[in-house]
Every structure is written in C-alpha cells, then in structure tokens.
C-alpha cells in the first residue's frame, strides 16, 4: 500500500504487521517508500543504460546531449516542487492544518536540490557546446533567480521563532513563490529575446528514437526520485513538528510543577 502525502491523513498500511518492524530502526520509511525507492533505483539504472550507452550522440552537440536527459527533467521537477510549496502554503493559510506547513517545507527543499542539479547540468552542458560555463540564457538565468527565492524561503523557515508565527510568515512567502517565478521567467525571457539569444537549452523538438526514450526514462527516474524525496522530507518535517510540540508540552509541564511546588511551600 503506497503511503500518500495527504497531510490530513498520513497513514501507512493500517493492518497489523507481522512483527517484522519489531527490530527495524524507527524512521521515515514505510512499505510505500521502499517500493518507490526500489522503482527509482531501477529506473535510474535504466536511465544510465539508455542515457549513456544505448542512445546515440547528437549530430550537433555530440555526447553533451546526454546531459539533457537529466537537465530537462530536473528543471521540470524543480517547478513541481515550487508549485507544491505555493499550493501547500495557500492551503495552510486557508485550513491552518500543520500538515500543509510540512508539505510546503518539503516542496521547497527538494525543489532546491533539483535547482542545483538544473544549474549544474545546464552549466556543464554550456561549456563544451558554447564555450562558456554561463550564458545568461533565459532558462538558466531564471533558474538562478528561482534558486535565490528558494534559499530565501528556506532561510526564513529556519528561524528561531514561535512556530505559529514562523508558519504564518513562511506561508505568505511560499504563496508568493509561484507568482514570483512566473513574473521573473516572463521578464527574463522577454529581456533575453531582445538579444536574439536562442534558448540554448531548448530540446530539439524533432528528437526521436532512442534519444526520446532516454529523455522519457529521465523523466520517469527523476520523477520517482522526486516523489521518494518528497515523502521522506515531508515526514521529517512532520516529525519535527511533533518534536516541537512535545518539547513545548514538557516545558509547560515543568513550569506547572515548579509553580505547584512554590504553592505547596
């Protein structure tokens, strides 16, 4: 049974396990994540096969095209992560359930991982193809700004604040993430189009055959990786909330005990 990321009902398999979790280390794993994880590893292997071995080198870019099989999907999942954060932030502001807050955090952090991958692979693609590591083309530039937005969001989340205040501020910031991304993308694209810069990282639309398969496998593999990371990171965020709550309860209990001791004296 695959565990869902539904924040209101994070349930794993509900039926009693036959004792095999007795010795297992406590953590964020579950039967669902193990399945997703194995599928992810399998598809990564498939991607290596198709991406590095089976598919041919490109006519123009030679083997640098192999970077696209990772670069394009990771750019996609970066945007997915941002959407998750904005959506979850909006839902938190509406419902105020803690699960949405955890989901927003997970989306941003996993998104940041994919942002770094996108920038790295894009830069490494640019060097052999165009001679420079950075070309100020529309996609890379927007991604760089988006990375800054994510870093800022995560910085705000790490602050030592009353959790409710922190969640509220993060939610407002998170809600603005996708609108900011859209505005930045539009204006950067428009700006770069003035200089007749071709979008260097645009995939040739006539891509076909084994190259197309490699790209699709790339989407599959990174999609599974994204999902696996999201589930775990969401649970970590959720656990972190529980720990905060427990700490708070303990602190209150101590205070109460002190107060009672005072009264008894």
């Amino acid at each position: 049974m695959t565990a869902t990321t539904q924040p209101g009902a994070v349930a794993g398999t509900p039926q009693p396990r036959s004792g095999d979790t007795a010795g297992a280390p406590a953590g964020t794993g579950s039967r669902g994540t193990r399945i997703v994880g194995l599928l992810a590893l399998a598809s990564i292997a498939l991607l290596v096969l198709y991406g590095l071995v089976i598919s041919p080198a490109d006519v123009e870019m030679d083997d640098a095209v192999r970077l696209m099989y990772v670069h394009v999907p990771s750019a996609t999942y970066l945007y997915v992560g941002c959407f998750v954060t904005t959506l979850a932030s909006g839902l938190w502001l509406w419902k105020r359930t803690a699960g949405w807050d955890a989901l927003a955090e997970a989306g941003a952090e996993v998104g940041l991982v994919f942002a770094v991958i996108t920038l790295g692979t894009g830069s490494l693609w640019g060097r052999p193809t165009w001679g420079t590591y950075w070309t100020w083309d529309a996609r890379l530039t927007s991604t760089a700004v988006l990375t800054a937005l994510l870093v800022g969001y995560l910085a705000l989340r790490r602050l030592d604040l009353d959790p409710d205040a922190r969640s509220a501020r993060a939610a407002v910031l998170g809600l603005l993430l996708v609108p900011n991304v859209v505005i930045v993308n539009r204006s950067v694209e428009w700006w770069r189009s003035l200089h007749q810069d071709s979008t260097l990282t645009r995939i040739d639309p006539t891509i076909e055959g084994d190259m197309l398969v490699a790209l699709m496998v790339g989407f599959l593999a990174l999609g599974l990786v994204f999902s696996w990371l999201m589930i775990h990171r969401f649970r970590v965020a959720w656990l972190s909330q529980q720990v905060d709550r427990i700490d708070l309860d303990e602190a209150l209990a101590e205070r109460r005990a002190e107060a009672e001791a005072e009264v008894a004296r």
Partner: protein, 47 residues
Amino acid sequence: MIAMTHVGYVAAAWLGTFGLIGGYALAVVRRGRKLSRQVPPGERRWS
C-alpha cells in the same frame, strides 16, 4: 564509453547529480531516524 566526446563533462554532470541526490537522501533519512527516536511510536502515522 571512454570513446565518448566530452566525457569529462558528462561524467561530472551525472556523478554530481546522483551524488547530490544520494547525499541529500542520506541526510533526510538520517534526520528522520533521529527525530523518530524522540517521538513515541504511537505518534508516527506510517509504518
């Protein structure tokens, strides 16, 4: 595979990508275990 052009860049990109993913995955799972120890088993809602 060594006959690949730009093999340095391809290798760097792929190794870097999956290295980062692996490292991050490890960090998340480790943090999950650490937090999980502080939370009584009843509170965890997955298994």
